[in-house]
Amino acid sequence: MALKRMLENWSRLRQQDYYAEEPYMWGMAIDLNKCIGCGACVTACYAENNLPVVGKERCGSGHSMHWMRIERYWTEPEGTPEIEQEEASDFPERGAHYLPMMCQQCNHAPCEPVCPVAATYHSPDGLNTQVYNRCVGSRYCANNCPYKVRYFNFFEFWKDLPHPLEMQLNPDLSVRDKGVMEKCTFCVQRIRAAKDAAEDAGHPEHVEDGTLMTACQQGCPTQAIVFGNLKDPESKVKKSWASHQVELDRYEQDKSEDVRGYRVLEELNTESCVMYLDRVRDTEA
């Protein structure tokens, strides 16, 4: 029986457009012009997804568990490449570019083929799924992720939760134990609830755009994050992708002057589902 199942899966793997008929392909668009780097999305993610707060020391040793992070980059001023100059000023953080980075839900995910126990796989609606119960913790997926957005439970973090605080854990998803890899799921518990609600409402193939929000999107004060179904021509995210001429299955986008859309490291052919809109700055001002 198991063998039959394996052969079935194998033939499905070789079939190019197996999921073409699926009604959903979840995607995101993040406008870096709107991002102010406040970190509300990160906080929202912590609250929604039962992420452990590891404390200053473990954060410093690289064991923090934030599924989403705000990366900061500085463009070196022309003529003065020394980063020290920035650091020496009173406002060393002035002029940072912010880049919210979370799992890009790649359609050619480098993490998927390397997992020895198939704990991470691709769901029909385009999510890069992590099955905590199946994970044995070989950490190969995290090494092979070019975005480095996979987080490993190096310790038993849940044990550090002081008594009444376990009451605020989100019951919709599990608390992960030590030795398990985890990452952004596009709030899969919310997707599941929205799909169920759509089914109850009598349109099982269609989740109304805007009814489903990820935690980071909900928390963003400037609405920089747009999330939705890329297969729905009417969705905001699809329109955003189309207007910036970003297509899912290409590793190099045709760019005209006035579009800002790009995907991080798309030259690696990961076919990620998150599009960023480049920040435009008036450097003269």
Binding site: A2, R72, L99, M101, Y140, G179
Partner: protein, 460 residues
């Protein structure tokens, strides 16, 4: 020089099972102490989680994986010395191949520990194996880690078989001379070997057959280990030339290990008459040749990265030479690339203790090589925000030291229980040396053999 006397061979080798020098017990005690330290470290890590090993984001892999590659690499030389030199009929391998084979087996057993202790959830490690289960889930056949599990299991089983089959005639000699529990052990293991000509014929065929099977297997095993890196998309891991580079590196570090154990055994078990300077000379020449192949592949790798002009790969390469891991990389180049040139001089090759220290330097170089394969690409990966430098912590270093203790402990126990020099093959070698000039006599022997075969066939 007077050759080894025929009658002395059995006596000398059997004596190694009885009365080693005091150094044996000292080394063994140190090794057991190291293993106990390792067990303590592993228990601590098991209890608190892998964080105590000071791995972090982005250093999800570190010493455990480089040690794994190192030990798997070391296991290759035994197969090389035994199987390849057997097939090419190099007579000089005979006094040293047995311990090289044992080394192969024990370094696989050491290597196999590392992927296990490196897992986040060790208790589910059997999920990696393809067995029918109630989940109706198979492991992921596309993952190089799964290929690893299959390759290592196959290699370990074949190496045990090769070592054991090659030992049967010697076990029979031991059986005939042993008392007590040893007698029982050798009787069981020698499977009723009587030394009949038919037995020898079957034995020879089996031995060559396993050797033929082992040579391509050994090459494939280390190619698969190389795939762990080459199949990823990480800059400086994703390199096409990694499989041959790994195989060459494996043979290289393995040959260095053979030299180390050669000198150690020669001293501890008083094998001076068997492990001669001529054999050391040939082993050193072989090591030198392999070192040059490795050098070539290493430089070829640098060149191909440099001229590929891939932004990320080039950056990692530059960081290797001037970045935080530069001491490791330069140390490797000094120990593994420059040091082997000492073996170009005959005087050096003939000095046992000089070779001993050189072999340790070569192994250090190859160990550093494995470290610089694993760590620097993780430290400067595709994503600049996560760039970080991490050095292995106490737990990882303790387990590394323990792995050396574990390997040496198994090896010494093996040498005390089983003959570490092949008695029947040494006799053959002495015989060939004595009768090298008289070809007629050899033909007579052939005739006698045929007759014996015929009569035994008649009996059967």
């Amino acid at each position: 020089m007077k050759d080894i006397e025929w009658a002395r061979i059995n006596k000398d080798v059997l004596a190694s099972l009885e009365s080693p020098r005091a150094a044996f017990w000292i080394v063994l005690a140190v090794c057991i102490a190291l293993v106990l330290c390792g067990v303590a470290a592993e228990v601590y890590q098991y209890k608190h989680g892998l964080g105590v090993a000071l791995m972090d984001k982005p250093h999800y892999w570190q010493l455990y994986i480089s040690n794994f590659v190192f030990w798997i690499g070391m296991s290759h030389s035994g197969t090389l010395l035994s199987a390849i030199l057997l097939l090419t009929k190099a007579d000089w391998r005979k006094p040293i191949y047995r311990f090289a084979e044992a080394m192969t087996l024990f370094s696989i057993l050491t290597a196999a520990i590392f992927p296990v202790i490196h897992l986040g959830r060790v208790w589910y490690m059997y999920w990696v194996l393809p067995y029918p289960n109630q989940h109706t889930i198979w492991p992921n056949f596309r993952s190089p880690l799964l290929w690893d599990a299959a390759a290592i299991t196959t290699y370990a089983l074949s190496s045990i078989l090769f070592l054991y089959v090659g030992m049967i005639p010697d076990l029979a000699i031991c059986r005939d001379n042993a008392k007590g529990w040893r007698k029982k052990l050798y009787t069981a293991l020698s499977v009723g070997w009587m030394g009949r000509a038919t037995e020898w014929m079957a034995f020879r065929k089996t031995y060559v057959l396993i050797a033929c099977f082992l040579v391509p297997l050994a090459v494939s095993v280390h190619s698969i280990v190389a795939s762990d890196f080459a199949m990823s998309i990480m800059p400086d891991w994703h390199i096409t030339s990694f499989p041959p580079y790994f195989v060459a590196g494996a043979l290289y570090s393995g040959c260095a290990a053979i030299i180390t154990l050669f000198v150690m055994l020669r001293y501890i078990f008083k094998f001076e008459a068997y492990m001669t300077t001529e054999i050391m000379d040939k082993t050193a020449k072989l090591t030198f040749a392999i070192a040059m192949v490795w050098n070539f592949l290493n430089l070829g790798e640098y060149a191909s990265i440099w001229y590929s002009n891939d932004m990320f790969e080039k950056e990692v390469l530059i960081q290797k030479f001037i970045g935080p891991y530069a001491p490791v990389v330069w140390g490797m180049l000094l120990c593994a690339m420059v040091a082997p040139f000492a073996m170009a001089f005959e005087k050096f090759r003939h000095n046992m203790w000089a070779m001993f220290w050189l072999s340790l330097v070569l192994q250090l170089g190859m160990w550093l090589e494995r470290f610089q394969i694993v760590s620097p690409p993780l430290a400067s990966n595709h994503e600049p925000w996560t760039w970080a430098v991490v050095w292995p912590g106490t737990v990882q270093l303790t387990l590394t030291a323990a792995s050396f203790g574990w390997f040496t402990m198994l090896f010494l126990i093996f040498c005390k229980i089983f003959p570490s020099v092949s008695m029947y093959e040494v006799k053959e070698m002495v015989f060939h040396r004595r009768h090298a000039s008289s070809r007629d006599e050899m033909e007579d022997i052939g005739k006698i053999k045929d007759e014996v075969m015929r009569s035994e066939g008649g009996l059967a």
